[in-house]
Amino acid sequence: LFIKRLELSGFKTFVRRTTLNVDAGMTGIVGPNGCGKSNIIDAVRWVLGEQSAKALRAARMEELVFHGSEREKPVGMAEVTLTLDNESGVLSKQGPEISLTRRLYRSGESEYLINRSPVRLKDITDLILDTGITTGAYVIMEQGKIDSVLTARPTERMALFEEAA
């Protein structure tokens, strides 16, 4: 279930609709400080169902919507679409491609879509559970957080192990 592409629009610094095509193998993402690389990671977490704003470095979910730059005005909605390759038929009930979309309006309303059809958040998280994809610390390894598993208390690490078991 590889990633085919990621589309962002209005999410953090990706105000204009942007597509990142991801190939098989090893993809490097480079660029100067503050240009948006870790924001891409946040977008993937978010579209996969992350419910903690803090995990995305925000105080509230509304902070994920592009709030303007010196020249650009803020926008009213953030949207991220993750398209997965299902050619191998891992998810038997789905077609060769599955797209997951999450939208957040500045008013606070959320929308979720699977293959462009509106669903509930639960449908997205259920689908992800079926695939075995998790967003645990060992699937999305975060900048500056790498040794948190070492500084964590032994009981906190237990939670990580139980998730993997």
């Binding site: 279930l1 942007t18 193998g25 490097g28 060992y138 040794d147």
Partner: protein, 159 residues
């Protein structure tokens, strides 16, 4: 389910040891199930880089901690592999030799796992199969560009 945890724990423990030795080019590492004073279960980590003696992990260097952490996270990963894996500047504290070993190990997961690596490290960039640059021509606004691997020095987006 308790037995399944025991079996999983044993596998993670073995993978951790293997991963640690491959990332460090030697040494020993182990995981221990412990019971805290509040009768809760916890996991303790022991790590011995090559040539050194086992001590508390707090004394390890920045790079040694990153490598030990990576070994454990990969051991957990091997138990429940995801089709893709995002690594955000994991190579930042590593010297050249450790970065090389790290990249070699990622290459071996290749084919079964799609890795997306955010990096500032020129070494890592050379070893990637494809490279995307994120730029901000319009201040505060991100844009994706594809980067040619030849002539990398010129191509990597400058600030």
């Amino acid at each position: 389910s308790e037995r399944r945890f025991e079996r999983t724990f044993t596998t993670i423990r073995e993978n951790f040891h293997t991963m640690f030795r491959r990332l460090f080019g030697g040494g020993e590492a182990d995981l221990k199930l412990v019971e805290t004073e509040e009768k809760e279960r916890g996991i303790e980590i022991e790590a011995k880089p090559p040539g050194k003696r086992t001590q508390s992990i707090a004394l390890l260097s920045g790079g040694e901690k990153a490598l030990t952490s990576t070994a454990l996270l990969f051991a957990l990963y091997m138990t429940k592999p995801s089709p893709f894996c995002f690594l955000d500047e994991l190579d930042a504290p590593l010297d050249d030799a450790n970065t090389d070993r790290f990249m070699k190990i990622l290459k071996e997961f290749n084919g079964t796992t799609q890795f997306i690596l955010i990096t500032h490290n020129k070494h890592t960039m050379e070893l990637a199969d494809s490279l995307y640059g994120i730029t901000m021509e319009d201040p505060g606004v991100s844009k994706v560009v594809s980067v040619r691997l030849s002539g990398l020095q010129a191509a990597v987006p400058a600030a």
